[in-house]
């Protein structure tokens, strides 16, 4: 028997009979609203288990299995999603098993990790999933006990009838519950009723991670699997002229060497043999486009910032008039280099392309794009491709791209064998998809009383797209604004890097506003608050942010850091809104033995309701460490189209000695939660630079800071 129930919402329920006499029930979230209802396959789940929806099953032995659809790369979504479901379900967390779901475009939408978007997208859906299952368990218990449902409550995996003292486990009710007609609307908990949400819940994969269990793409091994590595052109703007693979092919363990799309792929039986054979390749390259060096980019930035071709992103009032009448004008420029994403697990993917279908396994932030593109490339329907997600050893945006999955599939189709494609660290650093190098020019006009009457920003980037966030603060708070962007098209490929564009724009803007506040003879915090008050009372044009929420994080950071009240440390302020969340930071630099030392960073974050106290805190701390590390050290330069830094010996990442204390606070406003994977990173550079200025009188205009003359003698070792 098969029954389908269409709710009056755009989500669908599915009930089908199972072999064991129980029922399978599934929610189908479909944002498009189309009536996509498909039968649940019998036996798709372990016998005796009852599927309540895409997100969970309850088995007769009380194990609640919650499927986590989104790729997990350290943002802690695999713990956070199930917490939300389990809270509304009133499940016993110790009996919750979390399973990473494979790609399934029918069950899940937005199976993507990017843009700090998973929580705002899924918060309501996850709660409804848990609450619906809970409702059905209660109804089933009411029938079984012959009491009204209103007399029943739920707690920790039990339905409880207080009057009679009877208790039933979810497991013993599961099969009955699945016969209940699912409610069209279900009541969600009040915030005060949350039991898990807001608590400190440890990562569900901790045991596997600390005992070295196979979890990551690189840990995939299969019988008959070959290892593949690809030699790509070492310089951007070049292509293959000739390949001599005879020596490599003759080496032990090597199965084949094949050439496709400017790639020379070595395929063999073990990683080391393939690595060695790759070094024996003799490949000549020739120019196929611009061959660029970092010195060229410096010249280009100057041209672009003076160009007449820039695209106007926002225009309010009359900036020319404002600047003509200004009592004080300030013009400053800020520049950042390219950055590699450098996740600890290098790129890799497993592909087995067979006649009857394709199996893909690996770490990707965008599984559906990977499958769609592999289908297009191989000319086979996507339904014939399965994609299983592994845990991602970091992403930072690099794994939004699908190049490595496409390479693996193409290589497997050519050599007709299952292949695990591995990038070395050097491949990763030379392989492109970088954070774009950008230069900004900021201009401010102040009247005689220190009011900001004009504001101009022009960003010039290399393959950057829009270098600005034109509707972000301080837009909306200034009468006369001009925001422009211009980019240079380069063979050096770029991509989204954690907090795209804002990862540097925020530093530039917040450093600039610090200087403007000083010129206006105002305290930097007070200056920002006045602008936000203005944006609230009399907004100019479109506001891309909520002034009240920004004011709240500013005030919280100021309060917790004792802003302006400390005599022995120099404080620097910064605040930024990105990816729907607000974060303000105060950095503190102290003089130790006449050397400025970064001691501490305070953060105040507003991401609405904090779902997991442990995960949320670490997202903020980790974002700050990331922002700090790359502001201090991150530098990828080019010479004749080739990246000059190829591994961690020359591409410096922040290490343990260099991290200052970090203190995190959250605004408690009860608003539906927003993401935290990115928002804590952008403000960090500005807070540090402003604190160093306060301590030393020196301003920083370029990253990485540690390579600037202003930073000579600066101590970063916290514990010397």
């Amino acid at each position: 028997m098969e029954t389908m129930i269409k709710t009056n919402r755009r989500d669908f329920l599915k009930i089908a009979s199972a072999a064991g006499g129980g029922l399978l029930l599934g929610f189908y979230w479909n944002e498009a609203g189309a009536s996509v209802i498909e039968s649940v396959t019998e036996g798709a789940l372990a016998e005796g288990e009852v599927t309540f929806n895409s997100y969970l099953t309850i088995s007769p032995d009380n194990i609640v299995t919650i499927f986590s659809p989104n790729p997990e790369l350290g943002q802690n979504i695999k713990t956070t999603f199930p917490m939300i479901v389990a809270d509304e379900l009133d499940a016993d967390w110790s009996k919750v098993k979390v399973v990473q779901a494979a790609l399934d475009t029918e069950k899940y939408d937005r199976q993507v990790t990017g843009g700090s978007g998973a929580i705002p997208h899924s918060w309501e859906r996850l709660r409804k999933a848990g609450a619906t299952a809970r409702h059905m368990l209660v109804e089933a218990a009411a029938k079984r006990l012959g009491v009204p449902a209103s007399e029943l409550s739920t707690e920790n995996g039990f339905v409880i009838h207080k009057k009679s003292g009877k208790k039933l486990t979810y497991g013993e009710l599961a099969t009955d519950a699945s016969k209940i007609t699912p409610p069209e609307d279900v009541k969600l908990k009040e915030r005060s009723e949350f039991k898990l949400i807001g608590k400190r819940v440890r990562n569900v994969d901790n045991f596997e991670m600390i005992t070295g269990k196979p979890l990551y793409g690189l840990d995939i091994y299969r019988d008959g699997m070959l290892i593949g590595m690809i030699q790509r052109p070492p310089a951007f703007g070049t292509k293959i002229k000739s390949v001599d693979a005879s020596a490599a092919k003759a080496m032990p363990g090597i199965v084949d060497v094949v050439t496709f799309k400017n790639n020379v792929a070595v395929v063999g039986k073990s990683t080391w043999q393939v690595m060695k054979a790759r070094k024996a390749l003799r490949i000549e390259y020739e120019a196929a486009g611009n061959i660029e060096s970092s010195a060229d980019h410096d010249r280009l930035f100057k041209e672009l910032l003076d160009s007449k071709e820039a695209e106007v992103k926002r225009k309010d009032g009359d900036v020319d008039a404002a600047f003509a009448s200004a009592a004080t004008k300030i013009v400053r420029e800020y520049q950042c280099p390219f950055l590699a994403h450098a996740p600890m697990e290098p790129m890799n993917f497993f592909a087995d392309v067979r006649e009857d279908g394709v199996e893909l396994i690996g770490p990707t932030q965008t599984p559906n794009s990977a499958r769609t593109q592999v289908a297009e490339m191989l000319g086979i329907p996507p339904e014939k491709i399965t994609l299983q997600l592994t845990r991602l050893g970091g992403g930072f945006g690099r794994r939004l791209k699908t190049d490595f999955a496409l390479e693996a599939a193409e290589l497997s189709s050519i050599v007709k064998a299952p292949v695990k494609l591995i990038w070395t660290r050097e491949d990763d650093m030379q392989g492109g998809s970088y954070r774009p190098a950008v230069r900004y020019r900021f201009e401010a006009a102040l009247d005689a009383r220190g009011n900001l009457i004009g504001y101009k920003l022009r960003g010039a980037g290399i393959n950057s797209g829009n270098t600005t966030r034109e509707h972000n603060f301080p837009s909306g708070a200034v009468d006369n604004v001009l925001i422009e962007s211009i980019e240079h098209q380069s063979p050096i490929t770029t991509g989204a890097w954690r907090a795209p564009i804002t990862n540097f724009l925020a530093f530039a803007e917040q450093s600039f506003l610090d200087e403007v506040a000083l010129a206006a003879k105002k305290d930097p915090v007070q200056f920002r608050l006045e602008l936000l008050e203005r944006a609230k009372q009399r907004p100019v044009g479109q506001l891309g942010y909520d002034a009240d929420r920004m004011i709240a994080v500013i005030k919280l950071a100021a309060e917790k850091s004792g802003w302006g009240k400390k005599r022995d440390v120099a404080q620097g302020f910064s605040v930024y809104f990105s990816h729907r969340s607000y974060v303000a930071q105060v950095a503190e630099v102290a003089m130790k033995n006449n050397q400025p030392t970064l001691q501490k960073i305070y953060a105040a974050a507003d991401c609405g309701i904090v779902v997991n106290e442990s995960g949320a805190k670490q997202q903020v701390v980790g974002g700050i460490v990331d922002g700090l590390g790359h502001a201090l050290y991150g530098n990828l330069t080019f010479r004749n189209g080739e990246a000059e830094q190829k591994n961690f010996d020359t591409y410096r990442l922040i290490r343990i000695k260099e991290v200052p204390d970090v203190e995190v606070h959250f605004v408690d406003n009860g608003i539906s939660p927003t993401g935290l994977g990115e928002p804590a990173l952008p403000p960090t550079g500005g807070a540090i630079a402003n604190a160093f200025f306060k301590a030393t009188g020196k301003r920083l205009y370029r990253q990485p800071f540690m390579q600037q003359p202003e930073m000579e003698g600066v101590r970063l070792d916290q514990r010397m």
Partner: protein, 153 residues
């Protein structure tokens, strides 16, 4: 190729590999011990850290031929049930984000505490400086090493 007999986690393993094969790839490709990670291949990141006769070494640059009869411990052999004080502290403090570097971090920390059960904060930083965590879990690593140390007799 040659046959190597290796003492790993209290067992004897055999691997038929080239003499210059780094121990890392023997562990992963030949012996199925994938807890030891590849991060850089040049001993700069520490993801591949194992113990050789109790000392933390980078297995990505240690040729299998140099291991000899030395006793190797990998993350899989640090404890039988995942209950080494350092592992327990890592869970308690909830250290991992992506988790990829953490086996190496744990092996470095365990070697430090074996040699110096009560390290100062400076000694902890010095010992852990060679292990990169791209997610930025350094504060929790410090806390977990201290917690593990406090639980040692």
């Amino acid at each position: 190729m040659a046959l190597y007999k290796l003492q790993i986690n209290g067992k004897t393993y055999e691997a038929d590999v080239d003499a210059d094969t780094p121990l890392l790839w023997v562990l992963r490709d030949n012996l199925g011990l994938v807890g030891t990670k590849y991060g850089c291949g040049i001993a700069q990141c520490g993801a591949c850290t194992v113990h050789l006769n109790g000392r933390a070494v980078r297995s990505c640059v240690l040729p299998v031929s140099a291991v000899g009869s030395g006793k190797v411990t990998t993350i899989e052999g640090l404890s039988e049930k995942g209950d080494h004080p350092v592992q327990l502290a890592w869970d308690e403090v909830d250290v991992p984000q992506c988790g990829y570097c953490q086996a190496g971090q744990i092996m470095t920390a365990a070697a430090l505490l074996a040699e110096n059960p009560k390290p100062t904060p400076v000694q902890i930083d010095n010992a852990m400086q060679g292990n990169i965590c791209r997610c930025g879990t350094y504060h929790r690593i410090r806390e977990a090493v201290q917690l593990a140390s406090s639980k040692l007799k």
